[in-house]
């Protein structure tokens, strides 16, 4: 029980990742695949954000006025870990960029074959 409570964020992220991964592999519709891709990437972001979390008196990674002006020494445990947040900002951008390209390719295919189902497109190519 302790094992689950202490890490439930990680468990949920694994479930989400599995959902996304399954959709990417098993779904036949291109848009559904893209949706799965989005879920997959978001799950990874959730994982990183969970790494950054600190229990206790930690707050947002923005220095308060007193700290910023050197009123007292800053302790690292006082703020969340900023590095995973930074990495995830980049990852979100990457995911939206991938989404754009994927949708563009899907639309290209729809213009040519008038369907979004993968097997029908395969049939049309042959």
């Amino acid at each position: 029980m302790d094992f689950i409570i202490a890490k439930y964020n990680y468990w949920i992220y694994i479930i989400l990742m599995m959902i996304g991964f399954y959709a990417m592999i098993a779904k036949n519709n291109l848009i559904k695949k893209i949706i799965g891709m989005n879920i997959f990437q978001t799950a990874i972001i959730l994982f990183f954000v969970s790494i950054a979390y600190k229990k206790g008196d930690a707050t947002l990674p923005i220095l308060t006025y007193a700290d910023a002006h050197g009123a007292h020494a800053i302790r690292a445990a006082q703020y969340m870990n900023p590095l995973p947040h930074v990495l995830m900002l980049t990852a979100i951008v990457v995911s939206i960029a991938t989404l754009g390209v994927a949708l563009a390719i899907a639309i290209m295919m729809y213009k040519k074959y008038h369907t979004l189902e993968e097997d029908e497109i395969l049939k049309a190519i042959k």
Partner: protein
């Protein structure tokens, strides 16, 4: 100053010229081609400078933004890096020179944006190779991947679907890589490769490290199309425009192999990847399977480019198997084979591009009388083919020699058999083309074509010169392989 700043200039010059290219194309479209060549020339120059510096002074560290490594991003250039940089920038320069005529027939209305993405692709490759930071590698991996998807999707009928499948699997690969980064970060708190290499040995028995390592491996195997995960490659590279396949096919898989070597031997110690885990065994068998499957599938193809794709899969098997044997000689052979394979695959796809340009088709059946029509192209092709088969003066022989030597030393005869089998199949493959193209073998042939009717119809010079440069490079690398080994690769081989 150029000397100090050369590592960053290698990446930033193609990057900035990629940004300027759409503006330039807006103004005057014809300027794009010289502009691309110019920027890649500079980039190549810088990478040669870097290689020279590395050979004389050892490893270069470059701190981006002036921040010291574990906090900022660092560029590390050692011998392996520097060799890859020269290879990548040099071969992309050749492809850029080669690209003009082919693009004008295949994508006449989209040249400007094609060149933009071309430069971005090269930027991505260079960024992957040069960086010393795991997350930075991911970012550049995505740049390379996204521009690759777009370039491939512009190809012939069916290219969008191939590209979409590549996108899905490539994203899975990149996400697995990112997960690996996350697991490593969670357990160590660092992203810098050198820093990780310091911290990790104390944590080798942790399950988190094991999971991270496996996700790295699977993600990169997806990117390099290692045997069970190779489904996306043949379609994507066959249907891409010839310039795109000439750029991506030689470089993407080899860069993935480079990343794999980097992670196995720089981020993790050889002790972990070779002795603690059965990774190398799995890799060895995957490599052997890749060689067999690639060879057999290549035999079954009627399409020239598709056949080359399966050859590429088999060649990936060479390198992965070489690393999988995990002794110094075999890894030396694998690294030398990365170099050779870039050049050879570039030559093969360049020839395929020329044939597509002239014949508007890449079925093998269409290549009749091709030796008469294009003597120079086919001369270059012969050299490349001999190298792929592994005939002594060419470079392909030597890397195979080291691979075989290494596997004999390790007592692994299966790999030897696989290598020999693959060479044999390659002979058959290329002989088939020579047969179609040279001998006027026409089973139905009541109507004997008169040889006078066949006019020499050679490819344009801008395509021919890069192909010849590749052919010459193959022979030169073959002749000077000892000095390359002593001066560069010997330092790149990890200390086992």
């Amino acid at each position: 100053m150029i000397l100090e700043q050369a590592p960053i200039l290698i990446v930033v010059i193609p990057l900035m010229s990629a940004i300027v290219t759409p503006l330039l194309g807006w103004w005057k479209r014809d300027l794009c081609y010289p502009w691309v060549i110019l920027s890649l020339l500079f980039s190549t120059l810088c990478s040669v400078i870097v290689l020279n510096t590395v050979m004389h002074d050892g490893v270069i560290h470059y701190y981006l933004g002036g921040w010291l490594p574990p906090w900022g991003i660092e560029y590390v250039v050692d011998h392996l890096n520097a060799m890859m940089l020269v290879l990548v920038s040099g071969s992309s320069l050749l492809v850029a020179v080669y690209s003009r005529k082919s693009l004008e027939t295949e994508l006449p209305d989209r040249i400007v944006y094609f060149y933009t993405l071309f430069l971005l692709q090269v930027t991505g490759f260079l960024g992957i190779v040069i960086t010393g930071d795991l997350f930075n590698l991911f970012v550049f991996l995505e740049i390379a991947a996204l521009s690759g998807y777009a370039l491939i999707a512009t190809g012939e009928d069916g290219a969008p679907l191939a590209s979409f499948r590549y996108l899905i699997l490539g994203t899975v690969g990149a996400c697995f890589y990112l997960l690996g980064v996350g697991y490593l970060y969670m357990i160590t708190g660092s992203l810098n490769m050198a820093d990780l290499a310091e911290i990790l040995p104390g944590l080798y028995d942790s399950k988190v490290v094991l999971v991270a390592f496996s996700f790295f491996m699977v993600g990169i195997a997806l990117k390099m199309a290692l045997f069970p995960l190779h489904m996306w490659l043949p379609d994507a590279y066959t249907k891409a425009p010839s310039v795109a396949s000439a750029l991506i096919a030689p470089l993407m898989t080899k860069i993935a192999v480079y990343v794999m070597i980097r992670i196995m031997f720089t981020v993790f110690r050889p002790y972990f990847s070779i002795e603690l885990l059965p990774v190398t065994k799995i890799m060895l068998y995957a490599g052997i399977m890749a060689i067999f499957v690639g060879a057999v599938m290549a035999l079954a193809q009627k399409d020239f480019k598709r056949m080359l794709c399966y050859v590429v899969i088999a060649e990936v098997g060479y390198m992965v198997g070489g690393v999988g044997i995990a002794n110094a000689v075999a890894i030396k052979g694998a690294i030398l084979h990365i170099m050779n394979d870039v050049v050879m695959t570039l030559g093969l796809f360049a020839v395929a591009g020329i044939l597509t340009y002239k014949m508007k088709n890449h079925e093998i059946v269409a290549f009749k009388h091709i030796f008469k029509k294009m003597p120079f192209t086919m001369a270059a092709f012969l050299v490349v083919a001999l190298s792929v088969i592994g005939v002594p003066p060419t470079c392909g022989f030597f890397s195979k020699w080291y691979l075989i030597q290494g596997s004999v030393m390790a007592g692994n005869w299966t790999f030897v058999v696989a290598l020999l089998f693959s060479s044999l199949v390659n002979i058959v493959l290329f002989f088939r083309i020579i047969e179609t193209g040279y001998y006027d073998f026409d089973p139905a042939g009541s109507e004997h074509t008169h040889e006078e009717n066949i006019v020499v119809n050679e490819a344009p010079l801008s395509m021919l010169i890069p192909t010849f440069v590749v052919a010459v490079a193959i022979i030169l690398i073959g002749l000077y392989n000892q000095s390359i080994l002593i001066n560069i690769i010997q330092f790149a081989v990890p200390k086992l």
